[in-house]
Assembly symmetry: C2
Homo-oligomer: 217 residues x 2
DNA sequence: TCATGTGAAGCAGTTCACAGCG
DNA sequence: CGCTGTGAACTGCTTCACATGA
């Protein structure tokens, strides 16, 4: 009952949100919750919660609701968060180091096990729990640490080659912060976070209605 | 012909991509390009490019294609990138400082004009072009710098209050990196970037097919 | 009785296919 | 002729509304 292939990323992202919210509720000592209560407290949609969960099975009790801890546990399992994911950061500049520090405490199932950089000046530096290594050692580090996830924080012109290197080394999922269009190698799941695009989206809706709006006249 | 209100964020994000690609082409000396060529070179969809542009007017020449520089200029205008956006960073920890440095060189129309932090130990520190100021001065800084965009890089438990403070100070768009559900104050456009959710999405598709797949047997 | 789980309806976003124009 | 601009078809996601079952 787990069609992992055909699930939309939108659904998966919401599962993450539900899980986070359920953990909060569990900490507050709540034992049961209905989709309606969840929806109104965290402004989500009750029907959508039920539809999302329905893709994976039946988790609720009709007429009652959901068992908070049990549903949280089931979601962890569904998302694959009951495993550990060794993670390597490629590009230990400002952003790479900041993410390394961030993930030291907020990582959940992800553990930073290595960080590499091209610039010899940064090599040897301790960042959180790892020491920066030269990029040449990437493949060896991935092998020895068993890293399956990569974080790409290199300049845009170096992004594609480093993505290819990660793929060749055996990493299977990459979170990329470099701007520009990358081609995902076979067998690698690529997710882009583009700061510039996010800011430009905000700019668009900021300007919306000032520059040109014949109907507001 | 610019229905700025009713345009989907998906469309807006693609406009950013088109713009970036067109700038590249302009640098390479290309003068004209068809939607088909754009699509095949950067794997986009030709029909989608035309549909996206069609929401804002007619930019092409039938039988020929688009004038690269002209279309780029028009997209800049549409996205509102022909203006400058003073930007304030709230939370100058590791991530805030990293973003400040990043935006020093990659900012485009966005300019970091201030950074504040709660922790007195960080105050006074120079980061890129700004000096970290205490959070208490936020409203005054927004006023004096004219900041219209905020970047939130504070711990999750402080996120809502700082978002509210930004809104009260007059900031109209916020890019938030803190996890958790925030309530956007009236008149503020909020965009969330949640590292944890991105990683969990990757984890889901990584695990997909291992744990439970009756059909692969 | 009451909230889940779910077909059916509704809406949004994408792709198709071609009329229209340079 | 060739490519844009666009109605129409299609696909996928969300919301609705109710039958089902604890």
């Amino acid at each position: 009952m787990a069609p992992a292939g055909g699930v939309s990323p939108l659904t998966v992202n919401r599962l993450s949100i539900y899980l986070r919210v359920l953990r909060q509720l569990a900490e507050q000592g709540e034992e049961r919750i209905s989709s309606q209560q969840l929806a109104s407290r965290y402004d989500l949609s009750a029907a959508q919660i039920r539809k999302d969960l329905a893709q994976f099975g039946e988790f609720g009790i009709r007429g009652v609701g959901y068992d908070v801890r049990q549903l949280a546990a089931r979601l962890e399992e569904l998302l694959g968060l009951d495993r550990r994911y060794p993670l390597v950061i490629v590009g230990m500049g400002n952003l790479g180091r900041a993410l390394a520090h961030y993930l030291e405490f907020n990582s959940g199932s992800f553990e930073v096990v290595a960080g590499v950089d091209n610039d010899p000046r940064g090599v040897g530096r301790a960042v959180g729990r790892v020491t920066v290594r030269p990029s040449a050692e990437l493949a060896e580090l991935v092998r020895s640490t068993g890293a399956v996830v990569g974080v790409l924080t290199v300049p845009p012109e170096a992004a594609q080659e480093n993505l290819d290197a990660l793929a060749a080394a055996g990493v299977r999922a990459v979170l990329n912060f470099a701007p520009g269009r990358l081609r995902a190698p076979r067998g690698v799941r690529l997710k882009n976070v583009d700061l510039r695009i996010h800011l430009e989206e905000l700019a668009f809706y900021l300007g919306a209605g000032e520059a040109e709006k014949p109907q507001r006249r």
